[in-house]
């Protein structure tokens, strides 16, 4: 169970105009700007839910994921996950979560994937039979047989992402955070990843929180959608609610446009671009 209440986080960003003169000036006088990444974010997610977290670039999606995984400390507000405060009880908390950051890698770059998995087995103190079972299951579902012996550096993006997913689930976490897991994947890999996520949620009652820009991901996976823009939660409901919100003034016909157009219209309407 995840409860987030009034969470705020701001970053200090050094800004200057381009050009050598400006660069030189900034040596002596630096202008900082506070960027409010999260502003009074509150939501509640029950066990076993599958939640899509969407919003334009820079809306605060990744910041939220980082706070939920305990690697970022918010400025104010509370967040409790199964009785733990993620950033305070980080070491204990991360035992129970799996995370995939789509644009980063957790596998060791120059050794076979299998070796990285073995390391994770030790890190999470997974017992050998449990590890074997899980690995066998993941290998089957994600079709990893062929690639486990390959060094990470020689995997294609799709292959790597499948391995990343497996790596984040070896310790059978109750919570799975996915930050853009389908970024840059081809159609086949995307479908495989989606199916796998759905199956994990169904079979193991894993709570899944997923951020993405791919609206088809949303349609395929998420039962519930949380829309965030400029650091604030703007909508919390189903994809249908989202459609309605976009089409409410009649400019768009609900059945004649695709999801991407709906999202674009919604972003513009809410003025969060």
């Amino acid at each position: 169970m995840i409860t987030m209440e009034n969470v705020c986080k701001s970053y200090k960003v050094a800004r200057r105009d381009s050009g050598f003169g400006q660069a030189f000036r900034s040596l002596f006088h630096r202008e900082y700007e506070e960027v409010q990444a999260l502003n009074q974010v509150s939501f509640h997610i029950g066990d076993g839910e599958m939640v899509g977290y969407i919003g334009p670039n820079g809306a605060g999606k990744s910041s939220t994921i980082k706070i939920l995984s305990g690697i970022l400390t918010p400025d104010s507000g509370t967040c409790v996950i199964d009785g733990r405060i993620p950033w305070r009880d980080r070491t204990e908390h991360v035992r129970h979560i799996g995370v995939v950051f789509g644009q980063r890698s957790q596998l060791w770059w120059d050794i076979p994937v299998m070796d990285s998995f073995e390391l994770l087995k030790e890190i999470y103190s997974i017992s050998t039979p449990q590890y074997k079972n899980k690995l066998e299951e993941l290998t089957r579902l994600l079709n990893l047989e062929e690639i486990l012996k390959t060094p990470t550096r020689q995997l294609s993006l799709g292959q790597r992402m499948r391995c990343e997913l497996a790596a984040s689930l070896l310790h059978e976490p109750k919570l799975l955070f996915l930050d853009e897991p389908t970024i840059g994947l081809d159609a086949v890999s995307k479908l495989a990843v989606r199916d796998f996520i759905k199956k994990t949620n169904k079979d193991h009652k894993t709570t899944v929180i997923l951020t993405t820009h791919d609206m088809q991901d949303m349609e395929a996976i998420a039962e519930r959608v949380i829309l965030i823009g400029r650091g604030q939660i703007l909508l919390d409901g189903t994809l249908g609610d989202l459609r309605q919100a976009a089409c409410v003034d009649g400019e768009l016909q609900e059945d004649s446009v695709n999801l991407d157009q709906i999202m674009a219209a919604l972003y513009q309407k809410l003025n969060i671009m």
Binding site: F101, Q103, E122, S125
Partner: protein
């Protein structure tokens, strides 16, 4: 404990797969070692035997330095870690139920030992078949050899603990370049990597001996040849223990500060 051992083993496995790198490094180290031996020979002749170390002690110092370069050089710190801090891939490290400090410490030790093991054997083999005065002699006695091994381990600990401190400081500066420039140049000199410490003028030597850098390879390599002997050994070993603990403590302290205010870079 097993977790940290595995970090060590994995880094080791990753390290030994680059065979060509090991071969080329070997050539460099041999040529470099021979050049240094010749240079000190010239100094020896010119100073009519007035050198602060025996020539044979210098030769063994040079060969050991070349053979175990990977254990003690501070400029070849683990680049992956700098990259992780810079790019924000550290996120994953923070998502593990382990101490980041201990994790990185064992990873560093593993990297250094794997590299050193690959390189030391051929360099040492060549060094013991060198002609006449350029040959690496055996250690003075079995006890001395035992002390040598002990102080190598301690020296490695001091080196890694120092590098850890540098990694931790990088969390505050965004780019690691600055710290690396400042430290590596200075450390090379103060640790006796460029010139053995006994060659320092007395005043500077006193300063150097109060810094952690004199407790890296300076101690074991001079014990091996008997240059550091008798009553001088105990304070040197205690110095190593002291600096090892002090640097680990400082590293952990900086890490605690960094952990609080850490900003993962990138989206």
């Amino acid at each position: 404990m097993k977790k940290y051992y595995l970090f060590f083993r994995l880094r080791f496995a990753a390290g030994i797969q680059y065979r060509m790198a090991a071969v080329t490094a070997l050539t460099t180290q041999l040529v470099w070692g021979i050049m240094e031996c010749l240079a000190y020979k010239a100094v020896d002749k010119a100073s009519c035997g007035g050198m602060p170390m025996d020539y044979s002690a210098i030769v063994s110092y040079i060969w050991l330095k070349e053979a175990f370069l990977a254990l003690f050089n501070t400029w070849a710190a683990d680049n992956d870690l700098f990259e992780m801090i810079k790019s924000g891939d550290i996120s994953y490290e923070l998502c593990r139920p382990l101490s980041v400090y201990a994790m990185w410490f064992s990873r560093n030790v593993g990297g250094r030992v794997s590299e050193a093991l690959l390189r030391c054997v051929p360099v040492l083999l060549c060094a013991i078949v060198m002609p006449g005065p350029y040959r690496l002699g055996p250690p003075v006695s079995a006890e001395v050899f035992g002390l040598f091994l002990l102080t190598v381990v301690l020296g490695l600990g001091v080196t890694v603990a120092f590098c850890m401190l540098v990694y931790m400081l990088c969390f505050f500066t965004i780019s690691p370049q600055g710290w690396r420039m400042v430290f590596t140049g200075g450390v090379d000199f103060l640790s006796g990597h460029l010139i053995p410490l006994p060659f320092f003028p007395a005043k500077y030597l006193r300063v150097a001996q109060n810094l952690p850098f004199a407790y890296m390879h300076n101690v074991p390599f001079r014990i091996y040849s008997g240059d550091l002997a008798g009553k001088e050994i105990l304070p040197a070993v205690l110095g190593q223990v002291f600096w090892l603990l002090a640097l680990i403590f400082a590293g952990l302290l900086v890490w605690k500060l960094a952990e609080k205010k850490i900003v993962i870079q990138g989206g």
